[in-house]
Every structure is written in C-alpha cells, then in structure tokens.
C-alpha cells in the first residue's frame, strides 16, 4: 500500500461503488427490468387509456403531466431499494465485516452505498425515460434543474434506504418502509394529479410530503410548471440530505446494528 491517504480513500470508494453497480447489473432481471415493465404499464393505462379521457392537467396532456412523476417515482423507489437490500444483505451474510475491518472511514462506507443506490436510481430513471419516449415527446425546459433534482432525490432516498437497512433485523423490515410509507407518499406526492385539485386542507397536508417537492421540481425542469416554488423544493431536499447523512454517519460511528 504505497498510496497516500486520499488516493486510498478514492480507490476504496470507487471499489465499493463498482461492487454495488456490478451487483445491480448482475441481477438486472430483479433490478432493472421490473421498473421498466411497471412504468410501461403506467404509461399505457394511466397515460394512454385513462389519460385520453381525463384531458389536460395543469395545462398539459395527461401523458405529458405524469411522465416526470413516473420517472421520479422509479428513481426514488430504486435508489431506496438498492441500498436497503444491498446493505441489509451484507449484514445478513456478514460480509459487511469486510468493510468494518478495512481501513475505510465510515463516511466513505456511507458514500459508497449511497453512490451505488444513486447509480441504480439514475439507471432506472434513464430506462423509464427511454420507455416514455415511445408514448410522448419529452420537452426539457430547464436541463440543470431536471438533472440536479433527479440526482439529489436519488441521493436522499438512497440515504433513507441505508438508515432503514442499518435498523433492519430481517428482510421483512426492509420491505415495511417502502410498502407502508414510501409507496403511499409517492402516490400522494402529485405524480398523477396536481394538488390544486385538492381541497385546501388536503393541499396543506400534501405540503408535508417531501416527495411532492421532488416531483414538482422535476416536473418544473421538464415542463416548466410546478405546484410549489422550485427553490423551496431544493432547499428542503438539501436540508434533508444533510440531516440524513449526519444521522447515518452517527449510526455507523456508534456501530448501531453492526457491531456488538
């Protein structure tokens, strides 16, 4: 080991990222194919069949309106699921010990897993985007906002998956959060409708849902329209990323769920 500390850290991080990417590519029928099929069904059923009867939403065809939300839904679900299942499997099979005994600081372990989850989220996002091009054209109004929002959202949910996996004691426990929290929040996060359709009370309740901000900011990037101000969305997501990162590192430092 004749490399300096920064080089060593970089090699360790890229090794972990490579391992994570290799993992989700190796099991592509479980990781990449299902979202492509599910989202295609969404486009056919909600976009084409039902959407044609709904008409316009927020000034856009229903298909155009739901495409950004569906892409974002695929990104956050997959970023979350990748880290939750990969990290929990590493705990379950005990090969997380390879990392604990290695000279890698905890923040790099977190960064490696989160980067892996982000990579899968973005990969699935790209696949769903390509699928969506069979149904509609995608006008991107603000490229930087679109890319940065999808990137930040993937990071945030990868962090969520990591924390879930740290606490999880069984495979059931990594399914509970996506099933009972993530999915309802996604469906109620303005993927399929504008919150302007809701009564005032439910509009205000919806504003407590972080996914609403991501979906709307992403939609603003693509269509130029949003139910909420975009800078608020970015601020909330960045604050959440900082908070979850700090929390995740403190859990790693304490060895929660990992060390006796």
């Amino acid at each position: 080991m004749n490399t300096n500390k920064h080089q060593r850290h970089w090699i360790a991080f890229s090794t972990l990222l490579t391992r994570e990417v290799r993992r989700f590519l190796r099991i592509w029928p479980q990781t990449l194919l299902p979202p492509a099929i599910t989202m295609t069904l969404y486009f056919i059923i909600f976009g084409n069949l039902i959407g044609s009867r709904i008409g316009e939403m927020g000034g856009f065809s229903y298909m155009d309106y739901i495409v950004p939300g569906i892409i974002m839904m695929a990104v956050i679900n997959n970023a979350y699921a990748n880290v939750a299942s990969s990290f929990y499997s590493a705990k379950f099979q005990s090969h997380i010990e390879e990392l604990i005994v290695a000279p890698i600081p905890n923040y790099l372990i977190l960064a490696g897993y989160v980067a892996g989850g982000t990579a899968r989220g973005l990969c699935v996002g790209l696949i769903v985007t390509i699928v969506s091009l069979f149904f509609t054209q995608l006008p991107i109004q603000h490229l930087l906002i679109t890319i940065s929002m999808v990137f930040l959202s993937a990071i945030l949910f990868a962090l969520g998956g990591f924390i879930n996996a740290i606490y999880a004691q069984s495979f059931d426990e990594i399914a509970i959060i996506p099933t009972f929290i993530l999915t309802p929040l996604t469906y109620l996060g303005g993927v399929f409708y504008s919150i302007n359709l809701l009564p005032d009370f439910w509009q205000n309740v919806s504003l407590l849902n972080p996914i609403l901000y991501m979906v709307n900011a992403f939609r603003f990037g693509m269509l130029g329209a949003s139910d909420i101000p975009v800078f608020i969305a970015f601020s909330i997501i960045i604050v959440c990323i900082i908070a979850l990162s700090t929390f995740a590192i403190s859990l790693l430092n304490k060895g929660t769920g990992l060390r006796n």
Binding site: M1, T3, K5, Q7, R8, H9, I11, A12, S14, T15, L16, T18, R19, R22, R23, R26, S89, A90, Q93, S94, H95, E97, E98, L99, I100, V101, A102, P103, I104, P105, G255, R259, N260
Partner: protein, 307 residues
C-alpha cells in the same frame, strides 16, 4: 515495536455478560502466537475488539504502535482477518472477492489482479476463480478467506479457527502455507480447537478462560511443565499372564497393548530396558493424548456442562 499490545481490555455486553476481564497481552513481531481457550472463553471477542468488529468497554489496543481508537485506519491496515464463520458475498465470483477486498485497502485493480492470481495459485483456487463463492466446498471457502485476508499483505494475520471442519490433508497443507508466510515475516495469531495444530505451529501461547488470560508463555516452557506423559505401546507378541511390570506405572489394555505413564524425569531408555528384560518387543509407540491437550485440560477450569 510489538505487533500487538493489549492493556486492561474489558468487554461487557449489553446483556451484562462480562466477556473480557482485564486482558493484558503482547505479541512480538514475527511470532506465531496461539490464543487458546474453551468455547465462550473470550477468544473471538478479543479478536473482534482488535479488528473493530466489537466495541470494547475499557482498555487499550495497539497494532504495531497504532492505537485502534486514535488511528484506526493505520491500525486496521496492518491486520488481515480470517474469521471463524464464512463472511463473503456468496454471489460474487472468487476473484472479484479478492480484488474488491484489495480495493478497500487502497490497492488499484492493476495492483490487485496479479496479487489475486498469485494467491489463487498458491491456495489451489485458480480453477475456481470465476466461480460464485457459494459453490465452493467448505475447504475451498476456508482457503478463500485466507487468500482474502492476505490480499493487502498484512503485517499481522489473525486466524480464528481457520481449519475448523477441514480434512486432515488440507489442514496440513494449510499449516505448511501458514508456516511459510510466518517465515516470510508475517506475525500470526491463531485460535484453534485442534491443540495439535497449536503445538505444531505456534511458538508462543496464551490461554484464555472465562474472559481472563490464565497462561501466557512460550510453547516450550509450557510443555516442559507437563510432569507426566502417557504412551501407548503396541507389542509384537501377546503378553504372558504372569509377567511382572511392577516397576512401571502400566495398564494392560489388551494382550498386545500397554499403556505406560512416565514421569518427566524418567527416560524412555529406562522404560525399554525394563521391557527388554522381560522379553517384551515393542512394534510401535505413540502419545496417548496430545501433550498440549493434557496441559490445556489441567489449566482450564472445568465448569458444569450439560449436554
């Protein structure tokens, strides 16, 4: 500089179990060191603390002068660990496991690939390099864990029961391999339940029982403490009924087998002189039990065990 130095190490688990009680231990560079003890004595907990898998309650641990709390990265970089249980990703290919492990220690793929090839060849895993690790036999998995621990050329190799469940042929080839890397300068700490293994390989020994070090010395002086040794003799002809062996502490096992207990002070020549005088011819002779095993059992406090 000591390879490992442990001072006043204590570990109490959350359930109140005191696993380690004021452990003090030093391992010199280049040692082949045995850490022995009955099940649950604290061997794996000690190894867990050294390798950061277990959080200590109190005490100080230094690896080549690097404190595991103050400079964990440096301390960890010196250690290679072969744990008791298989702990690699069963779905990954053998060579990927090795190259990935090297990456965690800062080795580039260009550095790691030839090192992995070298170890795969040395440990007889070359043909399996593209096999998913879960498909390997038990012995191969053990060898893979040794190869993985050696990828970054650690100065201190810790093996926690590396030959458990391994057949004798493979065990002996692993001994030869470990002796070779020890001769090349790697300090080795070994825990094992095969006391013959510890006696053959290790020059220093510590025995841990109920969380305390009860013996810490070199193997030779420990074995010298054995005051009696028991031998089994296979005889060429059946023993006559009226033979007089009252000068010896002897037990007749069957017509052609004798068990003889000798004090450390007594010589084997004396034994054979007496046997020859009686016209007894001995075909072969062996120790009844491994010498270290006899000592180990006398040192370790026996507790009531219900099975």
């Amino acid at each position: 500089m000591k390879a490992l130095s442990i001072h006043n190490l204590c570990k109490t688990y959350q359930n109140g179990l005191e696993a380690l009680r004021d452990i003090n231990l030093e391992v010199e560079q280049g040692d082949f060191f045995a850490l022995l003890g009955p099940n649950g004595a604290g061997k794996s907990t000690t190894i867990g603390v050294i390798t950061s898998l277990v959080t200590k309650t109190e005490g100080k641990v230094q690896v080549f002068d690097s404190d595991i709390d103050d400079d964990p990265e440096q301390a960890k970089s010196y250690i290679g660990l072969v744990p008791q249980e298989f702990n690699f990703n069963g779905f990954e290919q053998v060579k990927h496991i090795l190259v990935t492990q090297a990456g965690y220690y800062g080795m580039t793929a260009a550095q790691a690939e030839p090192r992995a090839d070298e170890l795969l060849n040395q440990l007889g895993l070359w043909q399996k390099r593209h096999t998913a690790s879960r498909s390997l036999s038990g012995g191969m998995k053990r060898r893979l864990m040794i190869a993985r621990a050696l990828m970054h050329k650690p100065k201190l190799l810790i093996l926690d029961e590396p030959t458990a469940g391994v057949d004798i042929e493979l065990r002996r080839s692993m001994w030869t391999f470990l002796q070779k890397i020890n001769e090349e300068g790697t300090t080795i700490i070994l825990t094992t339940h095969y006391l013959e293994e510890a006696e053959n390989l290790c020059r220093k020994i510590a025995i841990i029982d109920q969380g305390k070090i009860i013996e810490n010395t070199d193997m030779k002086s420990l074995l010298n403490r054995l005051d009696k040794e028991t031998f089994i003799l296979d005889l060429k002809y059946p023993l006559p009924e009226d033979i007089d062996l009252s000068e010896l502490s002897v037990e007749r096992i069957d017509d052609t087998t004798l068990e003889v207990e000798l004090d450390q002070k007594e010589s084997l020549n004396g034994l054979f002189t007496i046997l020859s005088a009686q016209g007894i011819e001995v075909c072969s002779m062996k120790n009844k039990a491994n010498r270290l095993e006899e000592l180990f059992l006398s040192l370790v406090e026996t507790t009531d065990i219900s099975i």
